[in-house]
Symmetry: C2
Subunit: 613 residues, 2 copies
């Protein structure tokens, strides 16, 4: 066994010699970015070792790391097997999520009628003349029919009754008695709304009496260690029950960390959180519940369940009241999950007029078309390009990410949290491509300029940024002198192609849905952009590269983290929860891989041009 210490957290772990740094990081519970899950194909899992003792780089490391990086001790965590006690320096990754999530102090549109209710009751005391058992005594004082017996509550009931002189607060969720608390605790009643993203997990702590958000917090989905996208996660789960169990534990562990922090900061005890409403894509829902997602990956993409699921918190290990209900909202299909149902609920699609197109661009791209009394859904393999994966200098929307680009005489950048840039996030990428297209750095087919005629039209400082790289071209966004790492930050021809494939898939999906409904892009009354991403994307840029159908700018509305808002609504109101179930049931899913026209529409949608022709 050897010891590994991770800086800056100082977390230690003991592992057998021969363990990779990535595996050790997983064992230690520290976050190392990895989008391929250790296959050596993404080059994202950079960590720094002491350069003195460093053995020569592997071919994979040579491929992904510059000489400067190698000499500074940077290695790929998946490539290094540990043979002795080692100190590993992690890249600083102060996540900017809290800024991005936003903070909605009141969910105003929802009436506060949660299924969790508290009742203060006084019980008559027993005597030899009146020997009613404690459980029946409580039920008769509660006087609400249909309450089922709860072994865990019965287990401690007699002491609570006698300690509080038979005056107690009963916590009910529907016909389930969740808890009996001594004395009067009516004032304290909390719930969680949870949005489990493939990349980020967001938790909202709500006061169920007031209907307000007390606090929110986010954490990188710790399943990330097993790969960035759902396919990598499914592959790990398919490796056997142990893999599935790991993934389930990881995400619950991440949630418990956030819950512990929020509880601590806001003086709430976890046992005062009586319910959690959870949304996520279909894979995340399966993994969170420990349900085998194997057959979601290959065609015909079959999920195990799609209805809403209710389980006790203790069954999942979620650190709220052990008997509290965890409610996972329903899925629509294998790649349209409860997060999309949350979006539909928050957007109120059953009340919208006209034709509305809703796009949630995340690791996948889910599309909902609402109109003519129908709700159509599809999902597109948008790929994780928008979250920075598969892009050479791509990164998540964290400190140091380029989030805005302007090109005139030269390139100007906006960087998250200021400072020197480290890479580029999704909104920055769209901006960069749109500006590059507008400036003539690339043409409508997505080719970077290389012909003299093209180059001559560019301003000199911009022209200088275009250079040959291997068989293609690349565009230098940031010169090494201005970057955080000292390296040039570039967009390669391959990066452009990745974005092109992603946006082509989304547009093609939208077109298929429009066709199914019998309307055209010109009939769209409103485009709603869901997800944190929608808040930060520049609408002009998205229109400029044909990522969105050609509608007037003012008809594009960013609706924020609508998935999380939907979860909040379902937590605060049984009516809204029932609506979510109905929306999922009403939604008609179009499986694009089963649609003859998809390839055709996809090819048509690849071109960078406002009309998306």
């Amino acid at each position: 066994m050897i010891r590994v210490k991770f800086l800056p957290s100082n977390k230690m772990v003991e592992v057998p010699a021969g363990t990779t740094i990535l595996q050790a990081a997983i064992a230690a519970g520290v976050q190392v970015e990895s989008t391929c899950g250790g296959k050596g194909t993404c080059g994202k899992c950079l960590v720094q070792l002491s350069p003195e003792k460093l053995s020569p780089p592997s071919p994979v490391e040579k491929k992904f790391l510059s000489q400067a990086q190698l000499s500074a001790g940077w290695v790929l965590a998946c490539q290094r097997m540990l043979q002795e006690d080692t100190v590993v320096n992690l890249r600083e990754q102060k996540d900017a999520y809290d800024r991005k999530i936003g903070f909605n102090p009141v969910v105003e549109q929802t009436s506060v009628t949660p299924s969790v209710r508290k009742y203060l009751v006084s019980l008559p005391k027993p005597s030899t003349e009146e020997q009613t058992p404690d459980w029946e005594r409580l039920l008769s004082a509660l006087d609400r029919p249909g309450i089922r017996f709860s072994r865990p509550v019965a287990a401690y009931l007699p002491r609570v009754l006698r300690r509080s002189n038979f005056q107690v607060t009963a916590v009910l969720d529907g016909d389930t008695l969740l808890a009996v608390e001594p004395g009067d605790t009516l004032g304290r009643c909390y719930g969680l709304a949870v949005d489990i993203g493939t990349t980020t997990v967001v938790v909202y702590l709500l006061d169920l009496n007031k209907g307000t958000v007390v606090a929110s917090g986010a954490v990188t989905n710790p399943q990330n260690a097993f790969g960035a996208d759902v396919i990598a996660r499914i592959t790990h789960a398919a490796s056997g029950p142990e893999g599935l169990h790991q993934l389930q534990e990881k995400v619950v562990g991440g949630l418990n960390d956030v819950i512990a922090r929020l509880c601590h900061e806001h003086d709430v005890r976890p046992e005062e959180i009586y319910q959690a409403v959870v949304v996520g894509n279909t894979t995340m829902s399966h993994l969170f519940l420990g349900i085998d997602p194997t057959y979601l990956a290959p065609a015909p993409f079959i999920p195990v369940f799609r209805q809403a699921v209710e389980v006790e918190a203790r069954e999942l290990g979620l650190n709220i009241l052990a008997t509290g209900k965890v409610i996972v909202l329903p899925n629509v299909a294998g790649y349209v999950g409860s997060d999309t149902v949350g979006v539909m609920l928050a957007a109120g699609v059953d009340r919208l007029r006209g034709i509305n197109l809703i796009i949630d661009i995340g690791t996948n791209g889910e599309i909902v078309l609402v109109g003519r009394g129908r709700i159509l859904t599809c999902s597109t393999a948008a790929g994780p390009a928008f979250e920075g994966a598969e892009i050479k200098y791509g990164m998540r929307a964290a400190e140091g990410a380029i989030e805005g680009v302007r090109i005139s005489a030269d390139v100007e950048l906006d960087v998250i949290a200021g400072g020197k840039p480290r890479g580029i996030c999704g909104s920055g990428l769209i901006d960069a491509i749109a500006e590059m297209y507008k400036a003539g750095v690339l043409d409508s087919s997505g080719r970077l300029a290389s012909a003299d005629a093209q180059l001559q039209k560019l301003p000199p400082l911009v022209r200088k940024r275009l250079r040959k790289e291997g068989r293609g071209m690349e565009f230098v966004l940031v010169w090494g002198t201005d970057s955080a790492t000292g390296e040039d930050i570039v967009l390669t021809q391959k990066d452009v192609r990745e974005l092109q494939l992603a946006k082509g898939a989304i547009m093609a999906g939208a077109r298929i849905l429009l066709r199914e409904m019998g309307v055209g892009p010109e009939d769209i009354d409103q485009v709603l952009l869901a997800g944190a991403f929608g808040n930060f994307i520049k609408k002009e840029s998205a229109l400029g590269i044909g990522l969105l159908p050609p509608v007037p700018l003012q008809r594009i509305v960013a609706i924020g983290n609508a998935a999380g808002d939907g979860a909040k609504m379902a937590l605060l109101s049984t009516v809204e929860r029932e609506r979510a179930v109905n929306l999922a049931r009403r939604a008609e899913h179009i499986e694009l891989s089963n649609t003859k026209e998809f390839q055709q529409e996809f090819v048509k949608s690849l071109s960078f041009s406002r009309t998306g022709k």
Copy 2:
């Protein structure tokens, strides 16, 4: 830490120095008889150490052990704190339960309509045209409405479906899907009927297809280590959550041992056992379910619940199918438990004609009086005298126990499994007292003969057996030359008083119920004796000492382990289970401690005489 080895099992345990032998035995999971739970008041926890190194006896040991025993190395396990590695020799206690339980191969009177049912189904295979989730696919093939989602089954469903080419056997219990098994397993379907006695736990393995008992097994209730009677157990549970947890674990551990053995011997996998129906007294039901029984002990004797309880096996740690239901039949009151409800069910009290008195003599004495459209119950503090506790040479009905006594010219004995006697069990005790009364060794007030006039009437060999002991008399049943231990086995005046109190309590309870119903002992049409004890008691002796009301001999019927039979019936038939619930609901419980006449009736019932006047 020191090591303790227990012979003859060779079980080893490491414990801190200063641990008593009794605590070490509990830790090692070996059985040491103890009726006081280590308080030093019962003198039952005899174990043998190597005499050479033995330190002087404690005052408690001096009180309970003869000089011969002390010199042979016998000590009391609760009195000896271990300071070094030790070998402990346990008394041989080959239990005779298997003989006593009887073996009923078919529960003939019950129709076989269990709530567990298996269905063989073939599912259509999915395609991109037909992407129904696995769960819905299964439900639609099953075509039974109202089946609730089961996370544990969903978790493994996709693999089972695909491994067995979408042909599976679904196991349903009501509207709960318990399991999905690959291929056709219709032929294998098992259930358990369990009777948790304070002293002995009995398990029946039933074939739910055929309605037959495959096997049965019994084990001493391992909670015994914490005391022989329910009050000792409650006291331990009341000491805190850890105590309650220990008791719950102990009894489940004992059950799991029997289940493992029965499964092994009969080629049944624990996962093929889909349901368990459990009966026990109210305290045992609470402890089995891990529900705090503290307030059952002091007046007003309040249980936490009395209705039937259903929980998943995994919640209790019972080693049958994890999702299988464990159903504890309803209790009537704090001291009339589901075992008595099982007796009522097996006796068919809702179909009996006339006036029927049912007596279940165990650690407590539960009495049911059925007639005039009513079911009356009471429980009497019969005390554990009938199970050998509080009786100087009392023991359970195991090998070496005197179970029959005849007195004419001298004393003649029947001993379980033949061989030399070690002590006397309940049926032997009743027999002994009845014969002693008949022979004039004691009078109707229970006093052992001491006056010359009395002694002169006795045969010489019998007279010789009466001798002074302290301030009272005692009667030598077995001379040391004929006993297994080399000591005299005696019945003391105190032993006679114990039995007198027990039988007085039972008769007084019966009289109170008769009065409540408005009938007299002469109106009784039938006396049913439940429990293994009832099978072995000599009816003449029981009548002879006034333990039973004066009815003609042929009206006394032993109905065997009716509590276990009731559990079997409820397992095999949902109709019977519903009947049990109704019987419990109909039963009117009379709390004797609340009855003015009880003291009066009790005093009247103490006398040894056939009329019980």
